[in-house]
Symmetry: D2
Subunit: 291 residues, 4 copies
């Protein structure tokens, strides 16, 4: 098939290459002209034959929104936009609506796989109308891994980003579980070499996983993780997952605690902890603090 | 009544003064001879008339254990030891047993009130036999606040320290609730002056409490809590409460989270958080971390 | 002063009575004509002398919004609306804007005190312009408790509801701390009578508070709390507090855990827990579950 | 090699078969004579040639302790006992000591793999002296999976059970992360078929793992998990992991929350939640609960 790819960064660029390797014709556009095949959205649309498929792979938020709205002006009825960025699921309805007014289809796609996706394939979670998803199937099939997994049509518009958000929420929890276990191994006088324990778990255990493989890989390269500061960043999906837990009344203790632990790790002198110390001081000094 | 007080630190010293103010005769002993009335445990026991009451108010753990075991040698059948330190409830059975073999009574007392106790009275939670507790009643009555609250005979040996432990576990949770609320007020662009909000809550609200009064007092003295580092210490009771939650199968999410938040506040570069950053790095760099 | 009170339910009705007791003239309106002084918003506005003060005390969300928007049509420049419902702070900007277009002032007020407020006074947290707040001061002064606490002008429009939201978030955490402690006392073989321990804590302890007084009161009336099911409800403020913690990057472990524990208490057969049991079953049956 | 296997249940029986398949001579003993090769511990010891290897695979706690102590009487200097049960790491020192007095070696082995271990191999985490571990290597090599992972000599006596405990703690956290994600998918109006989303994640995603494969397998067999009640059991390791987090000052928010969520799931009418409802009632009834 033929498609346009907007955004040729680490994700979009690799996906273009993977699609081309599978025989698809991909015309790429990026704000950065190096590596782009055309120099404007208009030129991209012109080069594609109707019905056009345009995959948007730019930063979430305003850049994505602006791109979709511009495409609404440039594309024609029957064309389809795939929004594959890390967008909040709640952004999709507005995107779909502005395109639908012009008769243009919209599919949101949560994409997982990172830098490993080019070789291993990308997991795709998509939302939108059945006819649109069916039409895009050859593209999806070339992106996903071999083995029959890695693709789901999760529901209507927004469901793709929704499923990806939950995927990332789970990932936060899993990462924290491994991280806490690692810290316990590090802290305990019983364990001689935490990294060897981690490595051994890659076979035969209940906790074996791709994440564990990566942790072992990181420890091979840097046994004490000296290159890393103990300040964990977070991106949007973990926060949105907690928002959804609150909205839906789901007691997501674990995913939320994993997010908050990242927050706390970035604090040097948290007001909350100063308040606790101030209270302890009020009781009667540091030596009999909680009497 | 007449009693011996062993340990004349911030707690024991003030309790001695309060008891004396109420007309009791208190003979004090401390490793530090300044302020002590006698220079040995033996001398203390000698000065007391049978049946003797000896209140032990020394650091928990080995110092308390050693004192009780020495008293088992020195005291006589019919005497009573009150153990008022911050001991783990599980230490009490052994103390009681070694004394019981000599016919000596044992009462454990959890004491709350800190430096405010001398003026306001101390809350007492005691465990032991009814006859022993009844005999000690005049002493207890002089220590507790006016108003009819502040005393409970919570159960058999160990129950006093147990109730005090749970009291402190609750305190951890309450302090964390206030501390988190304070941090949210500090962080929000909506609130002009968090300290004024805290102060206002002292009247008419659902969250008014003695702890809130202390927080307001601390903020009056130091509106940004600059004197305090955001590293919260913990003493034994919070940990023991979590141990008990685990043993009893009680989902003490809040008390435990408040303890762990203190742990985390003292970490600069936690191995767990380094592991999370290492994993994020494995996915493909800092810019598309959780893809 | 003279003011109109819209909404004469448990809160508005009592506040009207308290204000009248302090010498203010209060004209009340309610959808329920019983007890109302006028039969329409229009009639209410007509009876008030300019500059008018109208206090809106109706359910949060659509009823409040509709009332404010209707008042925007009925009131005149220089009048002031006080919105005292349990509204989300983020609703206030829109209310203020629609009124400001007509030259009408807007103050949001978080009100605490429940059924006890009539006698004890209400705590008020208000947001809005200094001139509006100053004008309303005589009304506020009559509502708050004696003693100098219970009132704060927390910031601009929205700050009143914001401060009230955080107040309630703290309240969730405190309630959970007491509740967990109570459950531990109930579960432990060490404690003979949990209710007596709770009662004793009302004096001299670090955990004494109005909430503890209420818990003791509840236990006096029903020592095993038999009248209550272990399914805890929640209203909006706890959820909004967690949303804010997520937005602001504040690790509010305790407040969030207290909310989620309420969620979990209402679930009989949570999908999450079914999933855990299904996984345990996959390992090899119930007897060696986590091998 | 030759060894004795004590305990021929789901784990011990399969391990015996796997070892025999690899050419080892295994003499089995079990309280249940069916399937046992000998009818007493004494007979087992008699049939083994010195230096003997005896693998104990019986329930943790008293049965394991009694077996080890009995073996201390029966075995000879130079023999080795492997303790492969789900024992607490803190039990190992006493076992090792009683054997060491007789010159008998002791190795503790945490075993993972469940019913899948016979086919896939078992993960082994062992603790003890290097010479003992080296001697046992041929046995370990036959038990572990192909591929080079699945074995670690984690440290001295106790380290094997310690590493296994942390493994299970991590497992609790991972299971909860998946379970919460699954419940969110179930609860959301965006997702048409949660089970299909789960299945798709088996390829290309960051969350792919053996546990996820099992969850998909369970959902294939029972798409709504109807066969399972939402009451999650727990065994010792999760609790011991939390105990260790408390002892070591490690903020294991996630692992602990996953344990407590299981506790809560088994409660119908938790005293804590009754207390919260009682407090809400004190404020002024169900309709304005947190005012």
């Amino acid at each position: 098939m033929q498609l346009g790819m907007i955004g040729l960064g680490k994700m979009g660029g690799n996906m273009k290459r993977r699609l081309q390797g599978a025989g698809h014709e991909v015309i790429g556009y990026d704000l950065n002209p190096a590596g782009a095949d055309v120099d404007s959205l208009g030129a991209l649309v012109e080069q594609l034959e109707a019905p056009r498929v345009v995959w948007v792979m730019v930063p979430a938020g305003e850049p994505t929104r602006a791109t979709v709205f511009e495409l609404a002006e440039l594309l024609e009825p029957g064309d389809i936009v795939v929004e594959g960025g890390n967008s909040r699921f709640s952004d999709d309805a507005a995107n779909a609506e502005v395109l639908a007014k012009r008769g243009i289809g919209y599919v949101d796609a949560g994409v997982s796989g990172g830098v490993w996706g080019y070789d291993n394939g990308y997991a795709l979670m998509v939302g939108g109308e059945e006819t649109h998803v069916r039409f895009l199937k050859p593209i999806f099939d070339s992106l996903i891994p071999e083995g029959g997994y890695g693709f789901v049509h999760a529901g209507g518009v927004g469901a793709g980003h929704y499923a990806k958000m939950i995927h990332n929420g789970i990932e936060y929890g899993m990462m924290a579980a491994y991280a806490e276990g690692y810290e316990l191994l590090e802290a305990s006088e019983y364990i001689d070499n935490p990294a060897e324990v981690i490595k051994s778990w890659r076979g035969g255990t209940v906790v074996r996983s791709w994440l564990l493989d990566l942790l072992d890989r990181a420890l091979d390269a840097d046994p004490s993780l000296e290159a890393f500061q103990g300040k964990a960043q977070d991106s949007g999906e973990g926060r949105w997952t907690v928002d959804e837990a609150v909205r839906l009344g789901v007691p997501a203790h674990v995913i939320t605690a994993s997010l908050f632990a990242r927050f706390a790790s970035r604090q040097d002198d948290a007001p909350a902890m100063k308040a606790i110390q101030a209270l302890r001081n009020q009781f009667g000094g540091h030596n009999s603090p909680e009497r």
